[in-house]
């Protein structure tokens, strides 16, 4: 058996991202040319679906293919032609087991025998129907069909000629076999091993076994499988919209959910420690299943789908290499769940067009960290520093203060309410050898005016206020750092506070531990400066993580899954590091974390377990409105970090590296340790 995650490595060797659409086969023969009863009845249910609220798009009416029967070879041929036209690389044929598992589904048999349609494919055995309610199996589940070991083996044997088909989709050379749910199978672990040996014996090679759906407790390896194929809408908790709908009858019977909130949740879920193929879905509306419990997603449109596909593609490229770069689409023709790429009367080919547009776009990459020489060109650029308005304080002549010169950089944006307190906390530092550089990043409130007045008043310190057009937090910090002349630089957010001894303490620790970079524990305060309740989940999580980092041999043990420094405002470091690391990259939410991990290559990090930074939690914190983007940036920056782990100072000591990697796996971040990347091979 192969090790799980062995195809999750990332290489730069070409972009091979493939979209594979689930394609349901109806089962039953089609010799008479007449649709069998269950096909007719499924279409009947689709036809008969009644709208439950105003604006409810039911019944859904098929578009150019009509109420077609996919057991007809011409229909399949036409579907495949359309799919190819819209950049779909293949189908995953979903079949249910015939009464006797020693027979192959007749449609699947016809696809293999006729070699038509000529489109790559893999298969998914639908052991149990996976609809929205399947996550919480109803009591009726007792009536579900269970399979014996013999049936399962017979089933696999019928599939051997399918796996051998030249069109069959392989991942790292292994045929991809998807099973919808392991629940009705006996002892999945033993079964998986049997299946593998059957395939090996038949000369097909070790199959890549994937589970379609949700597994409670652990990854696919717990079942002896290799991968999970994500199965929306299972496994999420989208926002309910039932009460917003105006019922057409007495009440809305379906469970109405928000498509957008659900896209957001899926996209902000962390990278799993195992191989998981992402699945996107154009919509979901199970009304044809009424009166059984059914979910209806509202707010789906091609634009939201486009965003989902775009981000899922990006994640797929970060997570998988080569031919494992697969994005599944549920589904081509799941009509009774309102889930189909196949054109309908309302939207026509719009979802297909969106899919093609995104799939054909060149891959975008994470914003690079700018070289320091690039950042400093801003100083001499006529449209750069020269174009800003600068206000300087006129400090009284003073005796030189002891200790290293520290430049405090404050990016300020629309914080009129907090900025004075922030400045006061800097000037009140017990370490006196300071200069303060404030970059007003095009504030629209009174921040700019307050800063100018403050500079005019300030007699104790050199204070420079630079007013620039809004260019984002990372650029404001880079510009401030470019202007800094101190031996050491510190940053502070315009809504936060320094504790009075902060700089003195951190300088002391940097010297004592011979570190180029330090940060401290944090106090969380609210709008009015009161300490935030410690049990609040966000602060509680961070507290736990900081405590763990203090105990760990290196803060990096925790920094790989939690940005415990919390903010750039908590950074103090030797200015020379900038020459080696470069500036802050253009990530909107996580530029700080990215920088911190880059710095860790150059110097060890000192974490001082004293609350020397006061971080204000308020409604307008950048991260609170950017969870989805933050999740993507986190993945980008961690990928960047793990790709260069082999050259990291941690890797110099094999024992230390081994401990670190063990921690990475324990924390559930094993997904980043690509099978082929050097660190794990040791």
């Amino acid at each position: 058996m192969s090790s799980p995650g062995s195809f999750s490595s990332r290489d730069a060797a070409g972009d091979r991202l493939r979209a594979i659409a689930f394609y349901r086969l109806p089962g039953g023969a089609n010799e008479s040319g007449r649709a069998p009863d269950h096909v007719t009845s499924e279409w009947d249910a689709v036809r008969a679906a009644q709208p439950e609220f105003f604006g409810h798009a039911q019944p859904q009416i098929p578009g150019e293919f009509g109420y077609c029967d996919v057991r007809n070879a011409d229909v399949r041929e036409a579907h495949a032609a359309l799919a190819r036209e819209y950049a779909i690389a293949g189908f995953c044929y979903v079949f249910r087991a015939p009464a006797s598992t020693s027979e192959l589904d007749p449609t699947l048999a016809a696809i293999v025998a006729s070699r038509r349609p000529d489109i790559p494919f893999c298969v998914c055995w639908e052991t149990t129907e996976l609809h929205a309610g399947a996550g919480f199996q109803p009591d009726e589940a007792a009536g579900q069909r269970l399979f014996s070991r013999e049936e399962c083996i017979a089933m696999l044997r019928t599939l051997l000629p399918v796996f051998a088909d030249p069109r069959y989709i392989r991942v790292a050379g292994r045929p991809l076999f998807v099973v919808s749910s392991p629940d009705p199978l006996p002892e999945p672990n033993a079964l998986a091993a049997l299946w593998r040996s059957e395939c090996m014996r038949a000369g097909i090679g070790d199959p890549c076994l994937a589970v379609y759906g949700w597994i409670s407790g652990g990854g696919p390896d717990a079942l002896g499988f290799d991968a999970i194929v994500e199965c929306p809408p299972i496994g999420c908790y989208p926002r309910s919209k039932r009460n917003e709908m105006i019922p057409l009858g007495n009440e809305v019977a379906g469970d109405v959910r928000s498509y957008r909130s659900w896209v957001g949740q899926l996209l902000s879920s962390p990278r799993p420690p195992h191989t998981m193929f992402r699945t996107v879905m154009p919509g979901w509306d199970e009304t044809p299943r009424a009166p059984a419990p059914h979910w209806i997603f509202v707010g789906a449109n091609p634009e939201s789908f486009a965003l989902w596909v775009e981000r899922a593609c990006e994640q797929t490229r970060l997570r998988h290499a080569g031919d494992a770069q697969i994005l599944f689409v549920r589904a081509w023709n799941e009509w009774n769940a309102g889930c189909h790429l196949e054109p309908d009367a309302r939207n026509g080919r719009r979802y297909l067009e969106v899919l093609r547009t995104v799939m054909q776009r060149p891959p975008s990459s994470a914003p690079p960290r700018p070289a320091w020489s690039t950042v400093t060109t801003w100083l001499s650029d006529r449209a750069g520093f020269a174009a800003t308005r600068v206000v300087r304080s006129r400090p009284d002549e003073a005796v030189a203060a002891p200790g290293p010169r520290v430049s405090v950089v404050m990016p300020a944006y629309n914080h009129e309410r907090y900025v004075i307190a922030a400045l006061d906390s800097v000037l009140a530092q017990t370490h006196r050898n300071l200069e303060l550089i404030v970059i007003d990043d095009g504030s629209k409130d009174a921040t700019g005016k307050l800063l100018d007045e403050y500079a005019a008043r300030c007699r104790s310190h050199a204070l420079t206020v630079v007013h620039q057009p809004n260019s984002g937090a990372h650029a404001a910090i880079n510009h401030g750092l470019a202007l800094a002349r101190g031996e050491v630089v510190a940053i502070i957010n315009s809504d936060d506070l320094y504790a009075p001894t902060r700089i003195a303490r951190l300088l002391q620790e940097m010297e004592h531990r011979a570190c180029g970079f330090a940060f401290s524990n944090t106090r969380f305060i609210d709008d009015d400066g009161r300490e935030v309740e410690a049990l609040q989940p966000y602060t509680k999580l961070l507290r736990g993580a900081i405590a763990e980092a203090v105990r760990a041999p290196d803060p990096l043990y925790v920094l790989i899954y939690n940005n415990i420094a919390i903010s750039t405002g908590n950074f103090i470091f030797r200015r020379e590091l900038l020459e080696r690391v470069g500036g802050f990259c253009a990530m909107r939410v996580c530029h700080d974390w990215d920088f911190l991990l880059a710095v860790s290559h150059e110097t060890s990090l000192a974490l001082v377990d004293e609350p020397l930074y006061e971080y204000r939690l308020h409604g307008t914190n950048t991260f609170s409105g950017s969870r989805v983007l933050g999740a993507l940036e986190t993945e980008q920056l961690l990928s960047r970090f793990f790709e260069t782990l082999a050259t990291h100072r941690l890797a110099a000591d094999p024992a230390q590296l081994e401990r670190f990697l063990a921690q990475v796996r324990r924390a559930g971040f094993g997904g980043y340790l690509c099978g082929e990347s050097p660190p794990t091979l040791r």
């Binding site: 009591d139 039932r242 917003e244 957008r260 965003l307």
Partner: protein, 297 residues
């Protein structure tokens, strides 16, 4: 008890199997609900039945059970927690949050409830974040209206429909629209509730035939869905005017307009702050000389 479902995830969202989580709550208790009011031994059984209903996708039935438990034992934190979740599923967000907060108040280290509360509180933000990213993409299939007067001048008749119950938002918007229209023929509409606050508005009642017909339909605000009557109004054009909205509401209205009226919706954003926040083009809904709305140059 069903055996297959017991390996499925627990509805409380713990990520554990049902049998290891809430399925493991006391199951062997007496079922005698007629015992003395102090006797709560029937509670675990009722909880189990309710949990099973919740897992089977019948949140209302489950909620009844939790309510019964709470009537006898108002401080039962499990019932408060689970009722919070069923209320949420039923679309009563405020109730849900209050119930979860109450459970946490009774047991400050009730981590599962805290995590669920955190999740439920973050869902609207996540939804809005996606909306913010999606809305600019939607502009490709709407017509951004830069000058309302010009746009309205081509219509035979203008129907203005109030679709927002915030007076402080609607009043200034109506003032501006009225001035921009000058002497052009127009009708002001509102539904039976909003019409009380808008003097001179005709009451929208599609069943009685009182609905805007033909011409240009101007939808003021995105807070209320026009789905209940837009399908029968059959306007030639529809224009959505927004002053202060969430991105999600704007997206949903534009989708509804396109689907129900079959026209390409016009969009006018009359507030600079909103235009910046949602990355929308700013529209002038008043003549350029008027000082209220900033004019795009």
């Amino acid at each position: 008890m069903d055996s297959v479902g017991r390996n499925q995830p627990c509805p409380c969202g713990s990520g554990r199997r049902f049998k290891d989580c809430h399925g493991a709550l006391g199951t062997s208790a007496s079922t005698d609900a007629t015992a003395s009011p102090r006797d709560l031994s029937w509670v675990p059984e009722v909880m189990q039945v309710a949990l099973r209903a919740q897992r089977a996708g019948r949140p209302r039935e489950a909620a009844e059970g939790y309510r019964r438990v709470l009537a006898a034992d108002p401080q039962n934190i499990d019932a408060l927690h689970m009722l919070g979740l069923t209320e949420y599923e039923d679309g009563r967000e405020e109730n849900a949050l209050a119930l979860l907060r109450r459970a946490i108040e009774l047991k400050p280290d009730f981590n599962r409830a805290r995590k669920n509360l955190h999740l439920l509180e973050s869902l609207p933000q996540i939804e809005e974040e996606i909306g913010r990213d999606v809305l600019p993409r939607l502009l490709a299939r709407v017509e951004p209206v830069e000058d309302f007067s010009l746009f309205a001048a081509t219509a035979a008749h203008v129907h203005i429909v109030v679709a927002d119950d915030r007076k402080e938002v609607v009043r200034p918007m109506l003032d501006r629209l009225t001035r921009a229209l000058g002497a052009a023929p127009r009708t002001l509409w509102a539904d039976s509730v909003l019409s009380l606050a808008i003097p001179g508005a005709r009451v929208l009642d599609p069943e009685a035939g009182a609905r805007p017909e033909g011409g240009l339909l101007v939808l003021c605000g995105a807070a209320r869905s026009p789905a209940a009557w837009l399908g029968v109004a059959r306007p030639e054009r529809v224009l959505l005017v927004v002053l202060e909205e969430t991105p999600g509401a704007v997206i949903d209205r534009l989708d509804e307009i396109a689907a129900l009226s079959g026209t390409r919706p016009g969009l006018a954003c009359a507030s600079r702050a909103l235009a910046e926040r949602l990355r929308l083009p700013l529209s002038a809904v008043v003549p350029k000389s008027a000082p209220i709305a900033a004019v795009r140059t």
